[in-house]
């Protein structure tokens, strides 16, 4: 088996977890830190939002490294689905498949049906423009952007960096992530999709 073939298989969760820590370590070593959502604020500061809102008035050039980092992630995403593409879609548990199918979302069973990253019923170019899907994508994105800045971080900053550094504020934030996530996954999203 070649190295490319080896890396192209879906990674075990322990390997993935360790690899994320490597990224966090490298960022710290080079003088940065692991926190992706700051980029959303930096993009606004760069675009001149600081002219009428002091929250965006800071030296965004000092955060340029983070924007470069996240641009790299775009390229990484491309490489991972081309050179390192998995031979099969994501293997989702039967219980989740049954639940999703009951609210109109099918989990891809073959790579021809999809990689198993996003549901075609919501994200495909043909389906994304329906009223319901625009509401889901734009409403969801808005909540992520508003919530992450309010909480001072997202999964990388709080759930990984913050919990690793034994920060109680991050624990509270992660509890919040789950209150919101559970409410959405169990009640609101099924209601929205069935609507």
């Amino acid at each position: 088996m070649s190295l490319i073939e080896f890396l192209s298989q879906p990674w075990h969760w322990s390997i993935s977890g360790a690899a994320i820590v490597l990224v966090m370590f490298l960022l710290l070593l080079f003088g940065g830190e692991f926190g992706v959502s700051s980029n959303l604020r930096t993009i606004l500061a760069m675009g001149g939002a600081g002219n009428h809102c002091s929250f965006f008035e800071y030296d965004w050039k000092k955060q340029l490294w983070n924007l470069v980092f996240i641009s790299g992630a775009v390229v990484g995403g491309y490489i991972a689905v081309t050179i390192l593409a998995s031979p099969e879609p994501v293997q989702i548990s039967m219980a989740t498949q049954t639940h999703l199918s009951s609210i109109g979302i099918q989990v891809p069973q073959t790579i021809a049906e999809g990689r198993g990253f996003v549901p075609a019923e919501i994200f495909s170019p043909e389906n994304m423009w329906s009223f319901k899907n625009i509401l889901l994508l734009i409403g969801g994105g808005f909540l992520v952007g508003f919530g992450t800045r309010y909480a001072g971080g997202c999964t990388s900053g709080h759930a990984i960096s913050g919990l690793s550094n034994l920060q109680i504020p991050s624990l509270i934030a992660v509890i919040g992530f789950f209150i919101g996530g559970l409410l959405m996954a169990w009640i609101l999203l099924p209601a929205l999709l069935k609507f």
């Binding site: 990224v23 606004l44 929250f55 996240i70 989740t96 808005f142 992520v144 919101g180 996954a185």
Partner: protein, 137 residues
């Protein structure tokens, strides 16, 4: 040149987000429904190894390659800020199946619908900036 290394780490990060399947909307639903260990395994491993890493870095007083102290800061204590902000974030995370890292990774995969998510996430951050003085922190 200084920025090139961040670009390389970013590429690595995008590959990890994809190969770990953390970019999968389906994996996020599965996680919030407690129907698979996968995402808990990833985050759990990262937190345990990360805690060991932070302990070593602090004990050895490791510096950045330029000799500055590492950016490991304690966060200011508050409850409403993290709890309310976190809950709003969690609602959006389960709705779109993407937190900020995976959003940018999915863009590289050609999932164009994610542009709507990224655009509205930037808008959400902007609106937070406008109203933050009136929110409990």
């Amino acid at each position: 040149m200084k920025l090139l290394k961040y670009f390389m780490i970013g590429i690595l990060f995008g590959i990890i987000m994809t190969k770990s399947e953390a970019v999968s909307w389906f994996r996020i639903q599965e996680m919030f429904r407690f129907e698979s260990f996968h995402m808990y395994g990833i985050i759990g491993t990262a937190v345990i190894l990360g805690a060991i890493l932070f302990t070593i870095l602090k004990r050895t007083q490791t510096k950045t390659i330029e000799g500055a102290p590492l950016k490991i800061q304690a966060k200011d204590m508050s409850i409403p800020r993290y709890l309310i902000g976190g809950t709003i974030f969690g609602l959006g995370w389960a709705m779109t199946g993407a937190c900020p890292g995976p959003m940018f990774t999915l863009l590289g995969q050609g999932v164009w619908a994610i542009l709507l998510v990224i655009g509205s996430a930037i808008l959400g951050t902007y609106v937070y900036g406008l109203v933050r003085e009136r929110l409990p922190h």
